[in-house]
Symmetry: C2
Subunit: 241 residues, 2 copies
């Protein structure tokens, strides 16, 4: 874990596409995959459904403290989309013949801890958390879902790649930073801080083999890709990652 975080903190700009290509020894067009680390269906669904619920709760909190009704409405739309994802995942749990709350229960602690650690000190940080962690985790779970059985995998991956409130949140944040440029440095620092905790909660979802060292070598390029996407999300707000 430490190496990912410290590398990102020190020199995020070096984590770019050319480097990814050189490191992985692959063509950029070769898709890096997580499929071999996918846990069984029920575990996958229990964890990701509870993560989605947490992401929804973060958005709800951002609505309550929003400075304008326009912001409330925009975040409300993002929250609605987030809840719809949670509900589709709960639907998949029921379809698999399991009880949603039983299946989510084992993951409440790690996810609640993540929520607490990434809550942010004010409304702006909370919205940055909503924007960056949902983007990262949707991206992660859609990749991980591809390791599930054929049709099920495709159907579940589509839940995570479906419509999200990302653009709405980016717009809100961009406006806020334009109005108050002094926010920029603080939110950039917050965005950099989030990546460590977000990766931890993502990595806890991976099912490792006996050969941990070999696993790490194969996981690394995927996380590099996820971090690159995180950096791009920060770029979209004009924040230095």
């Amino acid at each position: 874990m430490a190496n990912w975080f410290s590398r990102f903190s020190r020199a995020p700009r070096s984590v770019d596409t050319p480097r990814l290509r050189a490191r992985g020894g692959e063509q950029a067009t070769t898709k890096v995959e997580l499929a071999e680390f996918t846990p069984d269906l029920v575990e996958f669904l229990g964890r990701s459904a509870y993560v989605q619920l947490m992401l929804f709760e973060n958005l709800s909190r951002a609505i309550s403290t929003a400075p304008t009704t326009a912001a409330k409405t925009a975040i409300g739309r993002a929250a609605e989309l987030s809840m719809a994802k949670h509900r589709r995942l709960v639907g998949e749990i029921v379809r698999a013949g399991e009880d949603p709350s039983t299946v989510m229960q084992p993951f409440t602690r790690i996810v609640d801890d993540f929520e607490r650690d990434t809550r942010g000190g004010d409304w702006f940080e909370t919205v940055v958390t909503c924007y960056l962690t949902a983007g990262f985790l949707d991206d992660f779970f859609s990749r991980l879902a591809r390791g599930l059985h054929d049709d099920t995998g495709r159907r579940i991956a589509a839940i995570f790649t479906g419509e999200s409130g990302e653009a709405l949140l980016a717009e809100l944040l961009t406006e806020a930073i334009e109005e108050n440029p002094r926010l920029s440095a603080r939110l950039a620092m917050w965005g950099r801080r989030l990546v460590g905790d977000t990766m931890l909660v993502a990595r806890s979802a991976l099912q490792y083999s006996e050969d941990h060292r070999s696993d790490e070598a194969r996981i690394e390029p995927v996380f590099t890709t996820l971090i690159t996407a995180h950096t791009q999300r920060m770029d979209a707000l004009g924040l230095m990652a």
Copy 2:
């Protein structure tokens, strides 16, 4: 205002259908209407859209403090339906050529005050608030919407009579009361208390004529009907209204 509330508090069981018939001098089948008190479209939409947002925020709060993940998921569904209503109302504001946040702004104070006064002291009271105030206000706004212009009125009324989380919330509360019967008296008292504040926020939406006394006489049967429905919602939980 006072007469509604005190009557309800003193002898709620007397507010039943036969009495309504006798008082109004009408057949029970004659629909009591609010149409003549409907404000103009933009005012109606601004107020009701902000009310819906507040109802959604109440549900969100109930999710964050829910004791079980099953409760989180159930309330989450109710929250999603509530947000969808808000968004449809915002869509109607845009359709009317207005800016949603500008149009909602005049109503933030009264609605925020209502939210604060009806927040409840714990999770159970919060869920009772969500259940009873949403039921009352949906009922109220759907009636008031019928005074809007033809097609528009029907379309907007349908937003309020559409799918809601009422049954889900009733189920959660019924289970909670069955598990802990001592909750019953406290939640019954809370439910009775809510009706006064809820009527106040509803009545503030009415556009009165010059003849206030005559207005009151025509409004009374409608509110009697709304209170009867409120009583039935409490009955459904086994609570004495």
